[in-house]
């Protein structure tokens, strides 16, 4: 019994989720006049940025792994 997803699977999942959330967050931004969508836009943006940063951290880990393996 083992969790089937590897580190790189999670990295890919984070990338896809970050893109979806960042695009959604940008599209429903009040700056484009979409003020009638009833979600907490501030929290959505925070989540999108957090997921994006998490993905970048996985990328940094991957780059570090490549550099140290040479």
């Amino acid at each position: 019994m083992q969790f089937p997803l590897s580190f790189w699977d999670l990295s890919l999942w984070l990338a896809v989720t970050a893109i979806i959330l960042l695009v959604t967050s940008e599209l429903i931004s009040p700056y484009y006049g979409k003020t009638n969508i009833l979600v907490n836009k501030k929290r959505l943006r925070q989540t999108a940025l957090t997921i994006g940063i998490l993905f970048l951290i996985t990328v940094a880990i991957r780059i570090y792994g490549i550099i140290t393996s040479i």
């Binding site: 089937p4 009040p30 003020t35 929290r43």
Partner: protein
Amino acid sequence: MQESSKVIGYILLLFGTLSLIFSTFYEHVTLAFIGLGLTFWGALLLYIKPTKYVKTSLLDSTALSSLTTTSQIITDLNYKGKAIYLPARYLKKTKGEKVFIPSKKSLVIPPVEELAREKVFLKNPKGICLTPPGLDLVNLYENELRKDFAKVDLNYLQNNLPKLFIEDLEIAEDLEINIRDNMIRVRIAESIYKNLCKEARKLPNICNSIGCPLCSSIAIALTRAAGKPVIIEKNIISEDGKIIEAQYRIIEE
């Protein structure tokens, strides 16, 4: 709406957790991805659910009666002067600005001693001293920005009020503040108060004097930041009600 999104959030969370447990048990990659997705979106749905929203018509109906009362009082007293927003220090306080409406058209500011008595009807000079309709709104702005407007300058308001109005409080779709010497021009687009503003326009002594809660709140913010009395010089609304343009003047002591 809020309840249904909550229920959907919990359902997604439940199925996501079950899927993750089964994926670990059977070591199934697809099930793990599904579980991860469902758990995440369930949690996200619960996290981004809106704070309590009310219809703007309810907002208008609540505020209009008090504005009508203020207008009736001023009309009945036959006071002709322009409303002057007075800084809190005039009342020997740190917060709680007042608006003074003189009986005559001249711009006259009552002495500090007279104001400190906290009377509604003043005798020297003759006029009425009221709590402005936008006072609590401006306190809300301060709470949201976590800043005391008495400790900032006008440039701070010029730079931060647009973001507050558009992004944080979603009061308007656009806000522009132009400062030229002691004149401040404010342009508000698609405000949630546009219907209230339209209705308030029908009342005498409101729009170009005290102002609606929104214009009043900006006047108080300017008074607080400048530390000087402010008047609403002009207040124009476009025909479709979408654009409100207000002009404020800081009175030099």
